[in-house]
Symmetry: C2
Subunit: 301 residues, 2 copies
Amino acid sequence: MAIALPNTQHDFERTVSALRAQVDERLGQWLPMAPAQDAIATAMRDGTLAPGKRVRPLLLLLTLKDLQQDAPVSEAGLDLACALEMVHAASLFLDDMPCMDNAELRRGRPTIHRQFGEDVAVLGSVALLSQAFGVAASAEGVPPPTRNQLVRLLAQATGAQGLVRGQYHDLREGQRARPLEAIAHTNRLKTCPLFTAAVEFAALIADASVSCTRHLNGFATELGLAFQLLDDLADGLSAQQIGKDSGKDVGKSTVVALLGPEAARQQVEEHLARADQHLIEAGIGDGHLAQLLGYFATRAR
Amino acid sequence: MAIALPNTQHDFERTVSALRAQVDERLGQWLPMAPAQDAIATAMRDGTLAPGKRVRPLLLLLTLKDLQQDAPVSEAGLDLACALEMVHAASLFLDDMPCMDNAELRRGRPTIHRQFGEDVAVLGSVALLSQAFGVAASAEGVPPPTRNQLVRLLAQATGAQGLVRGQYHDLREGQRARPLEAIAHTNRLKTCPLFTAAVEFAALIADASVSCTRHLNGFATELGLAFQLLDDLADGLSAQQIGKDSGKDVGKSTVVALLGPEAARQQVEEHLARADQHLIEAGIGDGHLAQLLGYFATRAR
């Protein structure tokens, strides 16, 4: 970027870049390069390592940093961050399929089923999910009862009350005209399970208090809602700019469609303000997560 | 049945029926009835509770009985048996989809995607998998480190080196003419992961020795191969008799297609004999699993 940034924001961006690189390196170890004829392993690796923001891993790692006085990232933290990204990638494989959103482009590349076939998309997704659970059950240095809790949390975030429910709502309810409340509900179901899992993973391995965990959960929920709105706002942009199919939401009832972009931006700012309040009440109002909110606020403008 | 059975076989059949009823009752609790508009929960319940042999749960519970001097089934045993059946059902949802085997009938009913749509089949399958992992991480009365091992075992059985690999092999290699060795390899990959997971789950919660566990694993592998061959033999029967699409294997290279039914039956008996030898070496040569082998031998004739 050409403009000079204030020091703290510059530091924050360096921290984020370094963490993202660590996540990608570790993901590459969990999902090693395979011979081309092993389409499942190739799809798992390519689909997960495709350029992305790594928001969920970052959320986990930044929360850990805030809870642990900026200590270096632990093996367990990094592995759990990878588990979240695997689950996220698995959900994208499936969401993009013809029986779901029927998308052609994702992260600037043809979607997994277009590259490898629908069977590989489905099986690769199952394999990624399985691996994520295996990673959570093996988190280095984490006490066994806590690992049990991590697995249970991941199962909730992924299953019938988590991502599955969100995607189903979006598919079946998204086409109808709906009141704002119902749209917000779908958004919450779709984006929040992995956002809240990320902060709760961090809270578990940092042994945070119940009250702190509750506020982190509130923070992640508000951030997830803001994130989904920003995603809907971006849907108006061209495919080149955002690297995935645009216009997929045409005809879908989104907050943006209902209220227009200005009011949606307003809502983003309200969610971010509430997220900030939760951080203050969690006792980490001036850490990395607070800076993350600043980054989102910039995106909203 | 009209014919009088010898007492032990009669007792065995009663034991199996009782265990199957316990599994179905517990599955019904894990997958409670949902309002019809909740298609995901309805598909999960209907697809898992549809009439079936419950071979994998039975394998786990009979192994437990053999290892624990016929003690009543524990909560943990029953829940883990349910977890295996959930994973099995999830794999059937996916295997039947148009991008895989494109089956219309399963367990005497229309396949899940035909009843509820492909999106529900995919999402229901993910939800069942997630729930199975959650159940394994919560197994009542099992020490936390053992629960983590259960989760890791399940992840291996389900993932890229387990069911996923077997199904992919079957899809991509099954159409080609292949030597017997390659067919046996695919059969092993397809059926054995959950069979070996079943006995290893039992060995873990019964705290069996390493040697016993190794022989149980060998037993389950041989049984799985026999089971797959019996399945291929049954594929020649009509849909009414076996309750799922028949003739799906026409053009596929199976042992039955390559050697004819007689030689396939011969192979079944060889696998069962080797399975029996493993039981003897595991020190449980005269328990319920040995009787299970007798039942399979009868099916082969």
